[in-house]
Amino acid sequence: MIKVEIRGLCKSFGKHEVLKGIDCDIETGEVVCVIGPSGSGKSTFLRCINCLEQPTSGTIKVDGHIMDENAKNIDELREDVGMVFQQFNLFPHLSVLKNITIAPVLRKKMSEDEAKKVAMELLARVGLADKADAMPRSLSGGQKQRVAIARALAMRPGLMLFDEPTSALDPEMVGEVLDVMRQLAEEGMTMVCVTHEMGFARQVADRVIFVDGGVIAEEGTPSEVFGNPKSQRLKDFLNAVAEA
């Protein structure tokens, strides 16, 4: 079953054309990793999927529904698309628990008790059950990101978007976040991850998309993309990453 259908996606910021026509289908349960040099448009691509960026042209459908900023039901459509940000974006004025329960209570009309139960289960899953009453400022980067993942999962989304979720972390905290994501992938979550973690992409992805210059320059299974890159641009990119 197709979860996300993207056709002719273009996005410009003023005169600057970031995405120049992207076509892409994502199957339910598929884990797609998006790689590419910085400025290639991979984050913009991801942000168009839940309409944080409104496409200049082209269409994006999630479960057959067109994602449009001005659509009446855009809030409901976004409920099904969880997102995890590079900078975590936890709500600093709310406790860890409230960060997770706010959306289910406001959107799904869940009772506080019910939402709390869900939140505690999720916190246990990401290994932070003891941090429920902590404020975000007291958490490490890796802990913040795991709370952010739990917050997104609390809406029971059918699709999760990850925008460089480990890029702002100290190296020793990358593993704990990737472990949670790996577990999520194994449970069958449909995931699109913009990432610089080539090891993660190689291991977890069903498909790797290489975005360069605002288009999908190459895509395939991890073994195809990493083992047998066809285009010179991808070869150069992989070499540059390997040297770093």
Partner: protein, 217 residues
């Protein structure tokens, strides 16, 4: 007459003046907060006419002295419209418009200082624009605004002394009247100054406690 005799003799009158000062400041600041919120919302509106009105309002308030604003309202407006108002009413209008103009910029700055990532995270969870504004952005903007708002309160409390020239007996005016009778300029201005200082000092101490209570750092 010794300093203490003068103090004991003057204090009841000075306290009356202080009460009027505080009343004028409190009423004006209350209205100024409402004006400030409304004006800042206009300033951030999508409607270009509302934005232009806000910009003109702030420019006029910032570009003219409070004293001129007070005279204009008390003598200019009443004259041209043929209406009467008390000096106190004119003072309240002038002070609340004046402080409201500055507050509108404080509130706008506070809301715009909230990380756009907060809005993105809230919207990505499905929260509506309204829910995002009231549950996520405003609570953080208030914390950012507190120091500047308290600063404006201090300024407005002291600005009541300027507006007293319209003719009502707040603290500074009472001080002048006592001096006119006693010729003890040095001592009386110290008393007046200390009274302002105490009020403002207490306010800032209170503000700092609140600030620490709600701090996110």
């Amino acid at each position: 007459m010794s300093f203490f005799e003068l103090l004991i003799q003057s204090l009841p009158l000075l306290m009356q003046g202080l009460a009027l000062t505080l009343e004028l400041a409190a009423v004006s600041l209350l209205i100024a907060m409402v004006i400030g919120i409304a004006a800042s919302l206009m300033g951030m509106s999508k409607n270009p006419i509302l934005r232009a009105i806000n910009r003109a309002f702030v420019a006029i308030i910032r570009g003219t002295p409070l004293l001129v604003q007070g005279f204009f309202i008390y003598f200019g407006i009443t004259g041209i419209l043929g209406i009467r108002m008390t000096a106190f009413t004119a003072g309240v209008i002038a002070l609340s418009l004046n402080a409201g103009g500055y507050m509108s910029e404080i509130f706008r700055g506070g809301i715009q200082a909230v990380d756009p990532g907060q809005t993105e995270a809230a919207r990505s969870l499905g929260l509506s624009k309204r829910q995002t504004t009231w549950r996520i952005v405003i609570p953080q903007a208030i914390r950012i605004c507190i120091p500047s708002v308290v600063n404006q309160w201090c300024i407005t409390i002291k600005d009541t002394s300027i507006i007293s020239v319209l003719g009502f007996a707040e603290l500074t005016k009472i001080g002048q009247q006592i001096i006119a009778r006693t010729f003890r300029s040095f001592e009386v201005w110290i008393m007046v100054g200390v009274l302002y200082f105490i009020v403002i000092y207490l306010l800032t101490v209170l503000a700092r406690i609140v600030e620490r209570k709600v701090s996110l750092d």
